[in-house]
Amino acid sequence: MGEVIYPVTEPGEGSAGKTGNWRWQKPIIIIDKCVKCGLCWVYCPEPAIYLDKMGYPHVNYEWCKGCGICAHECPSKAIDMVSEYE
């Protein structure tokens, strides 16, 4: 009997390689304003946001595509999107 192969993937580098270089703007998290709600972590489609032991979010810029969803969702306006070209 043949083994079943599932269409599942573990987190890791995708076939498109590291996606950080797609970015034209980057999210900067202002920790002082952050209330640790974790919404940016939930919404990041990559996911390129991880939470540290204290519950604060950090961006992994190797994968962050700069879509701005985290900044849009943040209820405390604690994420600024800054151009990569300025």
Partner: protein
Amino acid sequence: MSRTKLVLTGNYASAYAVLHSRAEVVPAYPITPQTTIVEKIDEFIETGMLDATMVRVESEHSAMAVAIGASAVGVRTYTATSSHGLLYMYENLWWAANARLPIVATFVTRTLGPPWNIWSDHQDFMTLRDSGWILFMVKDAQEAYDLTIQAFKIAENPDVRLPVGIAYDAFVISHTAEPVELLTQEEADKFLPSPKAIQPLLDVDKPYSIGNLPKADYHYILRKNLWENILDAKNVIREVGKEYGELSGRDYSSLVEEYECEDADTVFISMGAMAGEGMDAVDKLRDKGYKVGHLTIRTYRPFPDHEIKTIAENAKRLIVFSRALSNGKGGILYDDVASTLYREGLRMETYDIIAGLAGTEVSEEDFMKIYHDVRSGKLDTGKSIFIRRGEYV
């Protein structure tokens, strides 16, 4: 506890099978003639007989989406639909198969509109033919009960891991009550171990995603893998059917049901409720000395090629009754059978009979009339022949 025998409709028989299978999540959207299945399951839940969650969704598309989510975390999941509901669910039905999720569903066959029609034909069910679902069609309430329990065991087999559908005709089976012998809960539990044993696909401690964009070559491998697994599932179906037979006294170790086929020169092939009429016709024709048999296709996908080949080798002609039509081609079951014969290198007289479309009744007289007209050379082999209540149309 001893076994009970209840007078149940096909739909209630399905609901009792779900109860005894201890399904845990049942997302459902009502549609005639399926509705009384999930109503009954809801009653089991509300009265504390079944520890499950009924998810009332806004559409059939969502019903299957919920089923996909539940099954992907390893929960035993069941739903049911019919006709336009099945078509509305369609995208996610394919998703469930390709994601290899062991969902079990009942499809009560009902004609597709327009015009509006609630009676049975098999056109809705046939849209699942190529989807990767393992598909059964049963001919009475007892089979609906027995095969629904087996369906979970087949679907959850680690070498299969495919959704399984059990289909039967609207009203003739879904709403007609007949005696059904039920397993005791203890027997069912022993036959079908706890769904907790299923390896979850989605697990927060070991994150995965399902269905990410793959390279084409890898996707090809997945497609080929499903193909191999569904063919190998034939043996799983036979083994599960044999085990169920030893438990219940009702044997399901074959993908088909043969009736008087052994010495038959002419064999009717049909599926679903009309198989009963076909077998009654065989009795009447046998009384007059004609060597006729009937083959009921119970497992429709994977297709019982081997069983058909064995019957065909000993017969002179096959008369195939299709209750669904490939518009612009022919009877769908006929084309399945004909292609099996061709692949096996067998050439013989075959007849493509289109009967029971749009819920018209198919009677034993129809089978007998076709038999006599075939034997007297009135009907052409290989040509689609439409019969409606005894008249060629």
